[in-house]
Amino acid sequence: MSLDQSTSDTIRSLVYDYFSKECDVEPTSLTDTTNIIEDLEGDSLMLLALLEIVRKKYSIGIELKTLGKHLMKKPANTIGEIVHLSQAVVEHGDNIINVDL
C-alpha cells in the first residue's frame, strides 16, 4: 500500500505517543533525534510491542526475520528512524527487505 500524508502523520503520532507512554516522558521532550537506547533506555521488547501495534492497526503481515534482516542493513536507533521504519513496514510489508529506503 502506498502511504498518503495522513497515514504517515498518524504513524508518526503513534510512534511518538507509544514511546512517550512506554518511557514515561512528555511527548514534547521527544524529537526525531532522540536515541531509543541511550536517551530512553528502550530495548527490543519495546520495538516488538510497537511493531505488533502497527501490524494490528494496519493488518500488516511481516515476519520478524524480515525485519531483522532489514535492521541489519538499516539500523533504527532514533525516534525518527523508528518512524521511518514503521512507515516502511506499513507501506511495504514483507517486501521491505527488497526496497532501497
Binding site: 527490543s44 505488533e52 494490528k56 520478524l64 526475520k65 531483522g68
Partner: protein, 139 residues
C-alpha cells in the same frame, strides 16, 4: 548487549536481562495469550506458560533466552521459531520453520552452553556458542 563479532569468530556470546512484569501486555485480561504473543513465542511455549503458575515469568525467561541467542548471532530472526524448553540442567531449545531448515547455521552446527538465572523479579540469560573445531583444538 550486542557484540560486534569478527567475520569468522570461534566463539559467539549473547547476554540478556528481562523483567517478567513487562510481559503482562502479551496476556489478555482473562489470562489467555494475546495476538502479539504468537509473533514472539512458539505455541508450545505459550501453552506451557498458560499452564504455569506464573505465565509472565515463563514468557519472560523464554524471551530472555531467545534474545541472548539472537544477540550472540548478531541478528534477530523469527522469535517463534526458537522454542525454549525447560530442563533440569538448564534451558535448551527446539527449532522450527526456517531455523530448523538451517537459515542460521550456527544454531545447528555449533556447540553451545546456556545459563539462565530466573527469579520472580528478573531473568538473566547467557549463551556461548563454540565452533566445534575450536573445542577440539582446545582439548
Amino acid at each position: 548487549l550486542t557484540f560486534d563479532a569478527p567475520a569468522d569468530p570461534l566463539v559467539r556470546c549473547g547476554v540478556d536481562i528481562e523483567e517478567p512484569g513487562r510481559f503482562r501486555r502479551f496476556l489478555e485480561a482473562d489470562g489467555a495469550a494475546g495476538d502479539g504473543a504468537s509473533l514472539i513465542w512458539h505455541p508450545g511455549e505459550i501453552g506451557a506458560a498458560l499452564k504455569s503458575a506464573d505465565p509472565c515469568r515463563w514468557l519472560c525467561r523464554c524471551f530472555c533466552c531467545k534474545e541472548a541467542v539472537f544477540k550472540a548471532l548478531g541478528q534477530a530472526y523469527n522469535y517463534n521459531e526458537l522454542e525454549c524448553l525447560p530442563h533440569d540442567n538448564g534451558p535448551d531449545w527446539r527449532l522450527w520453520g526456517g531455523l530448523a531448515a538451517g537459515e542460521l547455521p550456527v544454531l545447528l552446527d555449533w556447540d553451545h552452553q546456556i545459563g539462565l538465572v530466573d527469579t520472580p523479579l528478573e531473568s538473566r540469560a547467557t549463551i556461548i556458542f563454540f565452533k566445534r573445531a575450536f573445542l577440539v583444538y582446545s582439548k
